[in-house]
């Protein structure tokens, strides 16, 4: 059997595929963060909390209303996005004129509140949720058996990420968005309602977090704490990719998933830390991140 540094290549491929699956989560989450940062100039610390809400909502839908996975996949992100609108209108909109650090601090506090409340209501042991019937079983990739559900996750996230990218880079709506980021006053003067656009962007970013939450629900423990640990890693992803860069966050998310997958084979203890090491190194060489522009 061929080996690379003492690990059979077949096992290595399997780990890379799993890394890609994780990378998909990073990509969706960091995409949402990048959207919000680009438009609102706010570092959304509460992103992890909204991700958690997506997962918990899909559990609530199943346990209390008997709504299955497919409807949850549609409804939970929408509900989370609506909450995002509420948050933007009641809290964030007062912060656009002050230093962007306040946005970071406010969302940090918001995350504490949301997670605290959910923890009080649902405890920390987690809530049961299994993949839908149609995804039982695995695909034979030759070198590994990939559970069908994981394959589905990859498909959904890639489609979501690239359609978002397409909308922003290639449609008129995206053009308005990008223009409003550059010069909101001018865009407003052209008769476009910039505040509404900002609100909707935030809702979209938050909705992406909710979607990631629903996708994660069958695969990991649904618990109020699930977002806390993830969010810092995702921050690192966004920073490495370049804050506000759409394509940057998608490709960095996927890439880091792969790197993390490799770390899990060669030095598993450091698999959570390697991201930060890469981040420190990247920023030393390219201060604005891999895809960002220095401003």
């Amino acid at each position: 059997m061929t080996q690379i540094f003492g690990v059979p290549t077949v096992a290595l491929y399997a780990q890379l595929v799993l890394g890609l699956v994780n990378g998909c989560f990073y990509a969706i989450l960091s995409l949402g963060l990048a959207l919000i940062f680009g438009m609102l100039n706010i570092t959304n610390f509460a992103h992890g909390a909204f991700y958690m809400m997506g997962a918990v909502f899909s559990w609530i839908a199943l346990a209390h209303f008997g709504i299955g996975y497919w409807w949850a996949l549609l409804l939970a992100p929408l509900l989370v996005a609506v909450l995002g609108i509420v948050v933007e209108r009641t809290l964030l909109q007062w912060l656009y004129k002050v230093d962007s650090l306040y946005g970071l601090l406010l969302t940090f506090g918001l995350a504490l509140v949301i997670e605290g409340l959910f923890r009080y209501r649902y405890g920390v042991s987690g809530l049961p949720y299994s993949p839908p019937e149609s995804f039982q079983g695995a695909l034979n990739l030759g070198f590994m058996f990939l559970p069908k559900y994981r394959a589905w996750v990859v498909l959904v996230s890639l489609v979501t990420c690239f359609s978002t990218w397409f909308v922003i880079e290639w449609t008129p709506l995206g053009a308005y968005l990008r223009a409003a980021t550059e010069n909101p006053k001018l865009v407003q003067a052209f008769g476009i309602n910039v505040p509404v656009m900002i609100t909707l962007t935030y809702a979209a970013g938050i909705g992406l977090a909710g979607l990631a939450g629903v996708l994660a629900a069958p695969a990991t423990q649904i618990s109020p704490l699930m977002g806390t640990n993830l969010i810092i890693v995702v921050f690192a992803v966004v920073v490495i990719g370049g804050m506000g860069s759409i394509l940057g966050s998608i490709s960095t998310g996927l890439g880091l998933g792969l790197i993390e997958g490799l770390t899990k084979v060669y030095y598993p203890q450091a698999s959570d830390t390697v991201v930060f090491l890469i981040m420190a190194l990247v920023l030393l060489v390219r201060p604005a991140g891999l895809f960002g522009k220095e401003r």
């Binding site: 405890g123 695995a138 559900y149 990991t220 423990q221 704490l225 997958g261 959570d272």
Partner: protein, 431 residues
């Protein structure tokens, strides 16, 4: 420093007031208020002198626990309920004196935990602290207990250091430790034919020592350890580690982790179908974890535990009462908190005092018998020795009623389950 110009200060005050220089006056005001608040918030009530045999005329029990963090489901509010049940079952009074319960959430911060313990002992006359989840908090509090010569009975934390390097006469380790929970599982599973092992362990002291202790026992029982992988604490995705475990070809995958990590590992195992071909052994899995995962994902798993609600009439009665109050079945920790509180009160009753030295002496002589423990005893190093059980998780079809999750596979007698006294590194039992 130059001499304090009192007179010019007074003049300055008057002038500032007259001129309406609010800023300066306000400064002093802010300083005053700050100082005042500083003192006020920190005021403690000095402890009253011992009245008779019972200090302060009341026996105070403190539940030091995690009510908001990762351990809160297996301890937390449930521990308070359990301690209160013990007090009620004892009759609410000992030697004619009232029993009082206080509790605090240490938020998993050792500063807060140790500070609370110190404050309780120093200013509130707390006689014994129970639960003490989170090993860093437990060890820190045990130092305080030793210094203040009061009793700490740890049920929530599992660090074996409590009865080894960090043992002291006033600390009792009541429920479980990494040696017992790993060792009992390891030996029993090897006897049931699980001879080759692979460990998925959390990369912190708890995971490492559990992995080592279990591996030792597995080898001693004639089994083989094929490998281990250490993952970071609170890892979000376990599929990679479980796949490594799968490709090792071991018959048993030992999960030397706890809480969310164990849950995620089991979820990944079930998703990849690993639990169909290999045996999963949860070295520290509590009933609430199984409840959270559901039987579909956990069926067939081996679990070592010190308590299960559905063992006999006594446990069922206790657990049903607990369920009504806490809205969940008691974990081993909850039962141990109940038991330790009850046994402490019995010892106070027997000695006729709440003086710590006498009570500890009595506790270490007594045979402990209640719903949690049968013929238990507390050793010189502070370890409470009790039987350990090996369970297998039922399949969904075997489960007949709510919370019907385990079937009993075997019992590990206490003296085999826990680290032998001869191996203890505790200074109290050095020959």
């Amino acid at each position: 420093m130059r001499p304090v110009p009192v007179r010019s200060m007074l003049r300055a005050f008057r002038l500032a007031w007259v001129n309406g220089e609010w800023v300066s006056v306000a400064w002093v005001g802010v300083l005053w208020t700050g100082t005042f608040l500083c003192c006020l918030t920190a005021v403690g009530h000095s402890q009253s002198k011992p009245a008779g045999k019972i200090s302060g005329g009341v026996v105070k029990i403190g539940v030091l626990t995690d009510m908001s963090g990762v351990y809160s489901d297996n301890t937390g509010q449930g521990s308070i309920v359990a301690a209160q049940m013990a007090i009620d079952d004892f009759g609410g009074k000992v030697l004619g004196y009232p029993i009082e319960l206080v509790s605090a959430d240490h938020q998993n911060k050792p500063d807060i935990g140790a500070n609370k313990a110190r404050e309780w002992f120093d200013t509130q006359g707390v006689d014994v602290i129970v639960d003490g989840v989170n090993s860093a908090v437990a060890i820190a509090s045990s130092k305080v207990a030793n210094e203040k010569q009061r009793i700490l009975i740890v049920s929530g934390a599992g660090s074996i250091r409590l009865t080894n390097e960090d043992c002291n006469p006033y600390t009792i380790h009541y429920a479980y430790d990494t040696y017992a929970t790993g060792g009992a599982t390891g030996r029993a599973i090897v006897q049931h034919g699980g001879t080759t092992w692979f460990f998925v362990a959390a990369d912190y002291t708890f995971g490492h020592s559990m992995q080592e202790d279990t591996a030792k026992v597995v080898r001693a029982a004639g089994g083989q350890v094929l490998g281990s992988v250490f993952h970071p604490l609170n890892a979000s995705d376990f599929s990679s580690y479980m796949l490594q475990a799968q490709s090792s070809g071991a018959k048993v995958i030992g999960l030397a982790n706890a809480g969310g990590d164990t849950i995620n590992a089991i979820k990944a195992a079930s998703e990849f179908g690993i639990n169909k071909k290999q045996m999963l052994a949860g070295l520290l899995v509590m009933i609430n974890d199984i409840h959270a995962l559901g039987l579909q994902a956990t069926q067939g798993m081996f679990i070592a535990d010190g308590f299960y609600w559905d063992m006999n009439d006594e446990t069922r009665k206790f657990s049903k009462t607990f369920l009504a109050k806490a809205k969940k079945m008691p974990s081993m920790i909850h039962a141990a908190v109940y038991s330790s509180t009850l046994q402490y009160l019995k010892a106070v009753q027997a000695t006729g005092t709440d003086a710590a030295d006498a009570v500890v002496k009595k506790l270490k002589e007594m045979s402990l018998d209640d719903v949690f423990v049968k013929h238990g005893r507390i050793r010189g190093d502070g370890r409470m020795v009790h039987d350990y059980y090996l369970f297998q998780v039922k399949s969904p079809s075997e489960s007949k009623y709510p919370w019907d999750y385990y079937k009993l596979i075997g019992t590990v007698p206490g003296d085999q389950a826990f680290q032998p006294l001869s191996e203890s590194r505790c200074a109290l039992v050095k020959k």
